[in-house]
C-alpha cells in the first residue's frame, strides 16, 4: 500500500460510528475513509465518503472491490433496535449484515485487516460467572435471545472468517458498555431515567468504557493491526449502588420481575430498553480482564470506569445529595481531621466507632 490506507467503516449513521469515521479520516496514514450505512448519518462526517448501501446485500462486495479497501471496521452490531425499527430488523442487520460483509471481505483480495467491535455482552451475566472474564472464557449459559445471541453469532462468523482468511489480521474488540455524555445505549438511557429501578438484593459490578476510549482503541487497532480477541474496558470497577450514589441519582429497588415488567412497559416510550440481557447484567454484573488489552494490544484507556462515570454524571442533573450536604454541614463544624486519617483510620484506628454503630 504505497500511499495511505483505505478504510471502510460500517454503521456510520450512529453517533459512535460517525464520530469515529471522522476521527479516522484525519488520522495519519489513512487516505480514504468510506462510511457505509443504510441511512445517512445525521451529523457532519467531514472527510468521510458516505456510501449508502445495505450490508445485508451483496452490493457491499462491489464497494470493497471497486474502492480497493484494505481495512474494514465493522461497527454496526447494534444493541437496540432504535432507528432500525423492530427486533427482527435488528437481528437481521446484525447477523445477516455481518455474514454478507464477511463474505464480501473473503472475496476481496485487497482486504488486509478486519476490526470488529463486539461487546462484553458476549459473556452473558449469571450467578455462575467468574469474577473476571478473560478472552478465552465462554459464557456460562449460552445466550438464547436478543443482542447477546446476536453478538455470539457475529463472533462465530468472525472466527470462521479468520480461519478462512489467515492472511487477514482480525481484531475482535469486546468492548464494555460504552458510556459518555453523548452516548445513547441501553445502559445510558437506563441511567438517565428520572428514578432508577434497581434489582432488589443485587448490586452488580459495572465496568464501562468511555466513548473517547472506544474511538481511540478502534483507531489503535486499525493502526497497529494486532490480531486477536481483546476485552476493552476502563480500569477498575464500580458497583451499581456506588455508581448511582456518585451520580446522585435516586433509585428504587424492585424485585427482578418487577424491573422486567417495568422494562417492557417503558419500551414503547423509548425512554429505556430494559432488555433481558441488560436485566441480567443489572442483576449479576460482569467484569472482564483487560490484561491482554494492555500487554498484547498495547492500549491503555485514558478514562477509568470511575472517571467515565464522573464524566457521564456531569451531564445529568443531580437529584439527590441532600444527606451528603447535611453531613457536610455538620462535619464542617468539627475539627478537620478526616483528611489526615482518611484511609489509614479506616484500616485500624476506628474500631470503636464501628462497634458503636453496629
Amino acid at each position: 500500500m504505497g500511499a495511505g490506507r483505505t478504510v471502510l467503516i460500517t454503521g456510520v449513521s450512529r453517533d459512535l460510528g460517525r464520530t469515529f469515521a471522522r476521527r479516522l479520516a484525519s488520522a495519519p496514514g489513512v487516505d480514504r475513509v468510506f462510511g457505509v450505512d443504510v441511512i445517512p448519518p445525521r451529523g457532519d462526517i467531514g472527510d468521510v465518503t458516505f456510501v449508502r448501501a445495505d450490508i445485508r446485500n451483496p452490493v457491499i462486495a462491489k464497494v470493497i472491490a471497486k474502492e480497493d479497501v484494505d481495512t474494514v471496521v465493522h461497527m454496526s452490531v447494534i444493541a437496540t433496535p432504535g432507528s432500525a425499527g423492530a427486533r427482527g430488523t435488528m437481528k437481521e442487520l446484525n447477523v445477516i449484515g455481518t455474514m454478507q460483509l464477511l463474505a464480501a471481505c473473503q472475496k476481496a483480495e485487497s482486504v488486509r485487516q478486519l476490526v470488529v467491535k463486539s461487546s462484553t455482552t458476549a459473556y452473558g451475566a449469571s450467578s455462575r460467572d467468574p469474577a473476571m472474564f478473560t478472552e478465552d472464557m465462554q459464557p456460562r449459559r449460552a445466550p438464547r435471545t436478543g443482542y447477546a445471541k446476536d453478538v455470539a453469532e457475529v463472533e462465530g462468523y468472525v472466527r470462521g472468517f479468520a480461519r478462512r482468511r489467515p492472511d487477514v489480521a482480525v481484531t475482535l474488540l469486546r468492548c464494555a458498555n460504552v458510556i459518555g455524555p453523548e452516548v445513547l445505549s441501553p445502559l445510558t438511557s437506563y441511567l438517565r431515567l428520572p428514578v432508577i429501578p434497581t434489582v432488589l438484593g443485587f448490586d452488580p459490578r459495572l465496568q464501562v468504557l468511555h466513548e473517547d476510549d472506544l474511538h481511540r482503541v478502534l483507531q489503535h487497532a486499525v493502526q497497529e493491526g494486532v490480531p486477536g480477541t481483546f476485552n476493552i474496558a476502563g480500569a477498575g470497577l464500580l458497583v451499581l449502588s456506588q455508581a448511582l450514589r456518585r451520580l446522585q441519582r435516586p433509585s428504587v429497588p424492585l424485585p427482578s420481575f418487577a424491573v422486567g415488567t417495568m422494562g417492557s412497559a417503558l419500551r414503547p416510550t423509548r425512554k429505556a430498553d430494559l432488555s433481558p440481557e441488560l436485566l441480567a447484567f443489572l442483576t449479576y454484573g460482569r467484569g472482564v480482564d483487560t490484561g491482554a488489552m494492555r500487554e498484547v494490544l498495547g492500549f491503555d484507556p485514558t478514562y477509568s470506569t470511575e472517571q467515565a462515570f464522573a464524566e457521564f454524571g456531569t451531564t445529568l442533573a443531580p437529584a439527590g445529595g441532600r444527606a451528603d450536604r447535611v453531613l457536610g454541614a455538620l462535619a464542617s463544624r468539627l475539627p478537620d481531621v478526616q483528611e489526615t486519617s482518611r484511609r489509614p483510620a479506616a484500616a485500624d484506628g476506628s474500631l470503636s466507632i464501628a462497634g458503636s454503630e453496629a
Binding site: 450467578s127 455462575r128 460467572d129 467468574p130 469474577a131 473476571m132 478473560t134 472464557m137 434489582v199 432488589l200 438484593g201 443485587f202 448490586d203 459490578r205 477498575g236 470497577l237 464500580l238 458497583v239 449502588s241 456506588q242 455508581a243 448511582l244 450514589r245 456518585r246 427482578s256 449479576y284 454484573g285 467484569g287 480482564d289 470511575e306 445529595g321 444527606a323 451528603d324 453531613l327 457536610g328 455538620l330 462535619a331 468539627l334 475539627p335 478537620d336 481531621v337 478526616q338 486519617s341 482518611r342 483510620a345 479506616a346 484500616a347 484506628g349 476506628s350 474500631l351 470503636s352 466507632i353 464501628a354 462497634g355 458503636s356 454503630e357 453496629a358
Partner: protein, 405 residues
C-alpha cells in the same frame, strides 16, 4: 448539682418537714429572691412562686407553711447546717431567673442549647474524650458511603464496609458467643497467596464468617472465601458476600485470587458438609473433586489446613424436607430441635465453644508444572489435606471438655 436540689421546691403542698418554729433554710434563702422575681409570674411556676412570695414578707410566723413544699430537701439540713447558704447562691440565679425566661420564649420543647449539650455528652460517652476528631472521622465515613466515594476491587470486595461494619458486627459473636480460640495462627503467611482449607459444618455457613473474623483479628489479613453459586444467586446474600470479599468457587477465580496474593478460603465439602445430619458430626465428607488442590498447585501457594470444632453444634441438624428444598431450589431445608418449632427464636445458634486450629502449611510449589493435571497426584494431596484436618478434629474433640465448655 444545684438543679437537683432546687427541683423539689416546686413540688409544693405536701405536708411534713420543718420544725414549725423557724422557716427552713431553703425557705429563708428563697424568700428575698422570690420577692424580686415575683413581678413576671410565669404560667407554670405560679404555684411555687406564689407560695414563696407569700411567706417572704411575713418572716417568722408563716415560715412553716412555706417550708412545707421544700419537704424533700430537709434530710440534708440537719446533717450539714452550714451548707444551705452555699448551694442557694448559685441556685437562685441559676434556676429561678431561667425558668420564666424559658417558659416565655419556648413554652414547649427543649432549648437548642440543651440539645447541643446532650449531643456533646452523648458524643463523649460514645467516642470518649477525643470525641470531636472521632466524630468527624465517623461523619467522613458516612459521607464517603453516601457519596459513593469508596473503592471496590474486581471481585466487588469493599474493604471499608467489611472492616467497619461486617467485622465489627461479627466480632462480638465470635468472641462472646462462641468464645473462639485460635491456634497455629502463625501458620498463616503474613503476605502472599495461600489457600486455607477448612471443614464445613453448622447448617448455615456461620463457620465461614467466624473464620473470616478470626483470621482478620489474628493476622490483619482478609480471608477471601469462595462460595457456591447458590450464594450469588440469592438476593442480598450474594451482594453482601461479594462486598465481604467472597467470590464464586470456580478454578478461574480461585487461581486469579491466589495469583493476586490473596488469602483464599475454601470449604471443599460444600453442601455435603454443611448440611450433614448431626449424627455425622465431625466426619469429613468427600472433598469435592480436588479442584482447590489443582488451583493451589497451579499457583504454587501453600495449603493451610484449618480444623474447626464447635460449629457442628450451633444448629444440630436432625431433619430435612427434601421436597420443599427441591421446590425452592436449595440443597436442604434444615430442621433443628428448635428451628421451625420456635420460629425465629430457633435461628439463634447454640453457644458452643469453638476451637480453630491452623495446621502446618502444605507446600505445593515443589511439584513440577504438569502436576495440577495429574489426577492421581491431585487426589493424593487432597487426601493428605483431608486426613490432616480429620486427625486434628479428633484431637481437638478429645481436648474439648464439653460442647459448651
Amino acid at each position: 448539682m444545684g438543679d437537683a436540689e432546687i427541683i423539689p421546691i416546686g413540688t409544693g403542698g405536701r405536708p411534713g418537714r420543718g420544725t414549725g418554729k423557724k422557716p427552713s433554710s431553703a425557705a429563708r434563702g428563697l424568700a428575698p429572691n422570690a420577692k424580686r422575681k415575683s413581678s413576671p409570674p410565669p404560667e407554670e411556676v405560679p404555684p411555687a412562686g406564689e407560695e414563696y412570695v407569700a411567706p417572704a414578707p411575713a418572716d417568722d410566723e408563716e415560715a412553716p407553711v412555706s417550708s412545707a413544699p421544700v419537704s424533700s430537701e430537709q434530710p440534708e439540713q440537719p446533717e450539714q447546717p452550714e451548707q444551705p447558704e452555699q448551694p442557694e447562691q448559685p441556685e437562685q440565679p441559676g434556676v429561678v431567673p431561667e425558668s420564666p425566661r424559658v417558659s416565655v420564649h419556648e413554652p414547649h420543647g427543649i432549648p437548642a442549647g440543651d440539645w447541643l449539650a446532650a449531643f456533646q455528652h452523648a458524643s463523649r460517652e460514645l467516642f470518649g474524650d477525643q470525641w470531636e476528631p472521632q466524630l468527624a472521622r465517623f461523619l467522613a465515613f458516612l459521607r464517603r458511603r453516601i457519596s459513593g466515594d469508596y473503592s471496590v476491587d474486581e471481585y466487588g470486595f469493599d474493604a471499608e464496609i467489611t472492616e467497619k461494619f461486617f467485622m465489627a458486627a461479627l466480632r462480638p459473636i465470635a468472641r462472646k458467643w462462641f468464645r473462639i480460640e485460635i491456634r497455629g495462627a502463625e501458620n498463616i503467611p503474613a503476605e502472599g497467596g495461600a489457600l486455607v482449607v477448612s471443614n464445613h459444618s453448622g447448617t448455615i455457613p456461620v463457620d465461614g464468617l467466624m473464620t473470616m473474623v478470626s483470621i482478620h483479628d489474628a493476622t490483619g489479613r482478609y480471608l477471601r472465601p469462595l462460595g457456591a453459586d447458590l450464594v450469588f444467586r440469592l438476593p442480598l446474600v450474594g451482594s453482601v458476600a461479594r462486598k465481604g470479599g467472597a467470590t464464586l468457587a470456580c478454578s478461574e477465580d480461585a487461581e486469579r485470587m491466589l495469583r493476586g496474593g490473596e488469602l483464599v478460603g475454601v470449604w471443599p465439602e460444600g453442601f455435603k458438609g454443611i448440611g450433614k445430619p448431626y449424627s455425622d458430626r465431625y466426619k469429613l465428607q468427600r472433598f469435592g473433586r480436588g479442584g482447590f488442590v489443582s488451583a493451589a498447585m497451579r499457583t504454587g501457594v501453600p495449603i493451610i489446613p484449618l480444623s474447626l470444632v464447635g460449629a457442628e453444634e450451633i444448629y444440630p441438624l436432625v431433619g430435612n424436607i427434601p421436597s420443599l428444598a427441591r421446590l425452592l431450589g436449595v440443597p436442604y431445608i434444615p430442621i433443628t430441635p428448635f428451628f421451625p418449632l420456635l420460629g425465629p427464636l430457633g435461628l439463634v445458634p447454640l453457644p458452643s465453644k469453638w476451637l480453630l486450629e491452623f495446621g502446618e502449611p502444605i507446600r505445593t510449589d515443589e511439584y513440577d508444572d504438569g502436576a495440577a493435571d495429574d489426577p492421581m497426584l491431585v487426589f493424593n494431596v487432597t487426601d493428605q489435606v483431608r486426613e490432616t484436618i480429620q486427625h486434628t478434629l479428633y484431637s481437638l474433640l478429645m481436648e474439648r471438655g464439653s460442647v459448651f465448655g
